[in-house]
Symmetry: C2
Subunit: 199 residues, 2 copies
DNA sequence: AACAAAATAGCACGAACGTTCGTGCTATTT
DNA sequence: AAATAGCACGAACGTTCGTGCTATTTTGTT
């Protein structure tokens, strides 16, 4: 039987790293505390990455692997249903404590804006990828006359994304899940309006 | 002549502290770097506050003094105009680089969520105060039949606030001011809708 | 069973962190 | 003129950080 042990320690390290980073932030993720929480030595952890920046990038990639399934949708749904499916999965990802300290990408965006470097570049690439999927889904719904075309897809994406971000931030600060209900209400009403009057 | 020296160094320190904190975050605001950028000694700065937590709280208070004028509005305006005035000033505050690294309260919210303590408590109090003003302005506009009452004021406040937060985050990450135009578009359209059909 | 390779541990380093202490300056008060 | 208080300073503390080195252990292949 093939033992999966060889690759699994690095994976195991990164899963803990994502948890810690979601609470302490990417900067607060220290190799020392990471090693201790894994009952490993500092150098044992460090050797897997070679630098803290590489650890941070690998942590972002691991978080992306956890998050990215949200972006998929069953192909048998209509375009607008796929879009709604995407938003609902995104909300579930924020609401269920997938990451104990909230969306890693959002907290990382806050700490890394204004600090150029490869970690920031990598983060921006991942964030752009998620927003790109959102915009594309909106455009497809517009192309099939399921959403109005009076608004640019980018405008709609900004507003929907804003509700997701804001719900995450308010929830993390207050630990009150009502903000997800409020965000769902906002999203639902906007869909009602944007589906309403087709030319 | 009364010497303003005594209180002014502390004020001077805190003004620099707000600038640094807006870029590096409240945790990244180190007493060492703060002292160096002021050509002071570490202990000279430290003595004014006694602990880093007290420095962080004083920094938040200083940022609030800078921000809070946004919340005022000329009393001769109508309720809905006062609300629009508030949002426009808030956007200007985010857009003009009042703080070089973006809204201090937002980045602080991101780093402090999930880390209980007096700094987090103090931050939440300030944030709540701003949101409270926003909600009260909406309620007053509803009471005077200038905004529809089919939505709770808290729901409207969440959506408007989300646009502000999201514009700030996207701008700080991309340095692209188009996001403020998008946010203004979103706010304008929502007012059009919420003013539209009164009972 | 022996051995090469990879993974982990151990140790030391320089730097930066928050904090404390003793000590001068410089006003203000007695 | 003497005593006092407030500021700011430099030095040092113990700790933690990221990062190199060198052993030692574990693993996979013959």
């Amino acid at each position: 039987m093939e033992t999966p042990k060889k690759q699994s320690t690095r994976t195991h390290i990164l899963e803990k790293a994502v948890q810690i980073a979601s609470i302490e932030g990417l900067q607060g993720l220290s190799i020392n505390s990471l090693a201790q929480s894994l009952s490993m030595s500092k150098s044992g952890v460090f050797a897997h990455f070679g630098s803290k920046e590489e650890l941070q990038i690998a942590t972002l990639d691991t978080a992306w692997i956890i998050f990215s399934p949200c972006l998929t949708a069953p192909p048998d749904l209509s375009a607008v249903q796929q879009l709604q499916h995407l938003l609902e999965q995104w909300l579930n990802y924020l609401e269920s404590d997938t990451f104990p300290g909230g969306c890693v990408f959002m907290s990382a965006s806050s700490e890394l804006d204004g600090k150029p470097g490869i970690v920031r570049d990598h983060l921006m690439q991942l964030v752009s990828r998620a927003v790109f999927v959102l915009i594309e889904r909106i455009k497809k719904a517009q192309d099939t006359q399921q959403l109005v075309t009076s608004l640019p897809a980018e405008q709609m994406a900004f507003e929907l994304h804003a509700f997701l971000l804001s719900a995450n931030l308010s929830y993390q600060l207050s630990r009150d899940k009502q903000y997800f209900a409020i965000a769902r209400n906002a999203i639902f009403r906007h869909f009602e309006e944007w589906q309403g009057l087709n030319p």
